[in-house]
């Protein structure tokens, strides 16, 4: 009996093998037509809700055809600018002002006095709080494209995508020094910025952080250009920065943590001051696929303001 069971089992398995072989050979069924070279982003775009610690508190829809530049000023007022227009919103999201200028804003920041510094593609224009033009700087270079700006007592810091360099300037536009130039002797790798998203921001103590997107890292420099530290890793998973060059934008929270935004896999995340992944603010599913240019700002209450140029919204996220 036992022997019979063994034989039958062996035969069944053997016949299964033969049937599989012949069925496969003669089946007219198409082989898997999935393109093996397709990037399958679907899985990566799915997010783990347990890692999301923020919720969307408010949406502002500025009546702007284009929105590129975002900043947060005194009284947690939100400044957003695009082509020829700057709009101001108060903390509850009501319109609080508007002024016009000539050109397309690519980045924006405010100083302590409330003056507004706008990176206008290849130069900088400074406006007083009422919107009066105070100063228009000279063009840095024909190739310049200012995509990041920050101001402190130490100067005005500009990230120039065209030249792949950071400038430290005086408020009147005089160049003090260049930061981040490749220097193997000083261990400075240089900026690798494949696409026109090159951001910088200042920490609480005025320390300069720059996104070296091609290296998927945030680098911290002294005012004199010394590279002090860097963190970041390339990774499709939520812990890292994806694609060729990310994060496209970032800002700092009051405790020194980083808020970062990415393109490719559109997502906004928080990293600890030491660069450890903490949580998701907005997962890829919160954005229209293909959105890029998610500029970020943080107000005094650590609300995170995300400029969504695709939905044409300012989206405000708060901790759950």
């Amino acid at each position: 009996m036992k022997q019979k069971i063994f034989i039958i089992s062996g035969l069944v398995l053997l016949i299964a093998v033969v049937v599989i072989m012949f069925a496969d050979l003669f089946s007219s069924k198409q082989a898997d037509q999935a393109n093996p070279y397709d990037y399958k982003m679907g899985e990566i775009r799915k997010s783990d809700s347990t890692r999301s610690a923020y919720s969307e508190q408010m949406i502002i829809s500025p009546p702007l055809a284009e929105m590129h530049a975002l900043a947060c000023g005194a009284g947690d007022r939100i400044f957003v600018a695009g082509k020829d227009t700057l709009l101001i919103y108060d903390q509850p999201g009501h319109s609080a002002g508007r002024f016009l200028f000539n050109g397309t804003a690519s980045c924006m920041t405010l100083d302590k006095k409330g003056n507004i510094y706008i990176g206008m593609q290849d130069h900088v224009e400074i406006f007083d709080p009422s919107g009066k033009l105070i100063k228009k700087w000279k063009t840095f270079s024909d190739e310049s494209l200012i995509t990041g700006i920050a101001v402190s007592d130490s100067g005005v810091f500009l990230a120039d995508f065209g030249k792949k360099i950071v400038y430290r300037c005086s408020p009147d536009g005089r160049l003090i020094n260049r930061i981040g130039e490749k220097d193997p002797q000083k261990n400075i790798p240089g900026f690798i910025i494949p696409s026109p998203y090159f951001d910088l921001a200042l920490g609480k103590k005025g320390e300069l952080w720059v996104a070296n997107t091609g290296r998927h890292s945030l680098e911290q420099f002294s005012n004199d250009g010394t590279l002090n530290s860097a963190w970041g890793e390339a990774n499709m998973a939520v812990e890292g920065f994806c694609g060729c060059c990310n994060p496209s934008h970032f800002a700092l929270l009051s405790d020194g943590s980083f808020v970062t935004s990415e393109k490719g896999i559109e997502r906004v995340k928080i990293y600890s001051p030491r660069g450890k992944f903490e949580c998701v603010v907005a997962p890829p599913t919160a954005f229209i696929e293909g959105t890029r240019g998610l500029d970020l700002a943080v107000d005094s209450k650590d609300r995170i303001i995300v400029l969504d140029p695709e939905k044409k919204q300012l989206r405000i996220f708060v901790k759950k």
């Binding site: 062996g10 299964a16 093998v17 003669f26 696409s195 293909g290 959105t291 890029r292 240019g293 695709e310």
Partner: protein
């Protein structure tokens, strides 16, 4: 465009038309601005000729050593040790390639396609085991073939299947061999390689499906020892027939069989023929009748199966990618034909519904959706065909040439199967007389297991 305008334009463009830009960029985009220089693409050199001949030398040495171990030393232990070596070298190290079993296809293709160059090393891999078998029995299967070696490791509870089951299942390798030669000769596919159950294991690259396939086969091998060798291996058919003519085949006992019956159940492969001493007394008329039947049965089966094979022309040719493509193109045309007919109906409908623009819009929407479905459903083959610039008539004429080949091939394949079945039936009809326990020269793998059971040692 001046340089000054280029950069702002770039920013405006990427922001205004983000979708367009996204669509044309591959993601993740390669880094192209660091000092890293892309190394030149290395095209691995083909394995040097010397190495190919080294493989042949190893094969020759292994065959010689195993033959000596089987016939002279008569040691199962050493034969087993050699099979482990072969599994390591030809299996895991050489990753199952070049393989004598697969060489059947190279040889077949070379015979029918003069443009196909057959390397000498492949010829030797094909011929050497057959030559050794012709003289010494299947010593190749004993411990040189890595496929046999790996299956041997799983034969934990081998069961005797009985001669009828062995005969019936024994048809499968003939089918496999016939199809393998047919598909190789017509340039359709190398199916022995396609369904090679072990190469994925040797290379650690088996897909889940293939792993499962191999797993099932090896599992069956627990109860049916060496299932691939006995009931699938197409090379085994050739070895089986050559071995029947071998002059110095392994014998269970080195001298006289003392009929102790100790070896009777020792063969896990049912390859020991037990003595048939009482010759069934068959009268001459019965014998004449049987012989007549044999003479009749062979041509009848060959023609009948040949005819059946030729009727299977379409099914067999359906495996060929050229015929598959033609079928797909044709079905696409048919779809387009019915599509045009439907479009005619739709236009007629549209006439009725002219006043209702809303309906038209909806229909247009459906059409676009259908067009989308069609584009999505198109197979790679069709896409490749469309990109190749070939005309449909070229595809059809290629396919019809292949179909013709399969008509003749179908006859030959069917005839071959018919002949194999006729010979099997004939073999069972013929009276046998055996005084001793002997190895069945065709089926015996010369593994030397039974030798250990025989008390007569020298």
């Amino acid at each position: 465009m001046r340089k000054t305008n280029l950069v702002p334009a770039l920013l405006a463009f990427t922001t205004l038309f983000p979708k367009t830009v996204f669509a044309i960029q591959r993601f993740p985009k390669p880094e192209f601005e660091s000092a890293y220089t892309q190394p030149q693409t290395q095209i691995p050199l083909p394995r040097g000729e010397f190495m190919a001949y080294l493989d042949v030398a190893v094969l020759l040495i292994a065959l010689s050593v195993v033959t000596w171990l089987v016939l002279k030393k008569r040691s199962r232990l050493w034969v087993f040790a050699m099979s482990i070596f072969s599994l390591g070298y030809f299996g895991f190290y050489r990753e199952g390639c070049v393989c004598s079993i697969g060489a059947i296809q190279n040889v077949s293709l070379a015979l029918f396609d003069s443009t196909f160059v057959l390397p000498l090393s492949v010829i030797l891999f094909f011929i050497l085991p057959l030559l050794f078998t012709l003289f010494f029995g299947r010593t190749f299967c004993a411990a040189v073939c890595p496929f046999g070696a790996i299956q041997d490791l799983f034969a934990f509870k081998p069961q005797a299947l009985g001669s009828r089951l062995n005969t019936v299942l024994g048809i499968i390798p003939y089918l496999y061999l016939g199809l393998a030669v047919l598909f190789a000769a017509t340039g359709t596919d190398f199916i022995i390689c396609r369904y090679d159950p072990f190469v994925g294991i040797f290379r650690f690259t088996a897909s889940f499906g293939m792993f499962l396939f191999t797993g099932i086969l090896l599992l069956s091998g627990i109860f049916i020892a060496r299932p691939y060798c006995r009931f699938l291996c197409p090379y085994g058919v050739l070895l089986n027939w050559t071995s029947r003519f071998s002059r110095s085949h392994l014998t269970i006992t080195p001298k006289e069989c003392i009929q102790c019956r100790l070896c009777e159940n020792s063969c896990p492969y049912d390859a020991i023929d037990i003595p048939v001493t009482t010759k069934s007394p068959e009268s001459s008329p019965v014998m004449v009748k049987k012989m007549m039947m044999m003479v009749l049965i062979v041509p009848v089966l060959v023609i009948a199966f040949g005819y059946a094979g030729s009727r299977m022309q379409d099914t067999l040719a359906g495996v060929d990618p050229r015929v598959k493509l033609a079928k797909e193109v044709l079905s696409g045309m048919r779809d387009a034909g019915s599509g045009m007919r439907d479009a005619g109906y739709k236009m007629q409908d549209a006439g009725y519904k002219m006043q209702d623009a809303g309906y038209k819009m909806r229909d247009a929407g459906y059409k676009m959706r259908d067009a989308g479905y069609k584009m999505r459903d198109e197979s790679f083959e069709i896409k490749a065909f469309k990109a190749s610039g070939k005309t449909e008539s070229q595809v059809y004429s290629e396919a019809s040439a292949v179909l013709k080949k399969f008509y003749i091939g179908g006859w030959l394949f069917g005839g071959f199967i018919g002949l194999a079945i006729a010979l099997m039936i004939g073999g069972r009809m013929l009276p046998v007389y055996r005084a001793d326990y002997v190895t069945n020269k065709g089926r015996c793998f010369s593994c030397a297991r039974c030798v250990d059971y025989c008390p007569v040692k020298s």
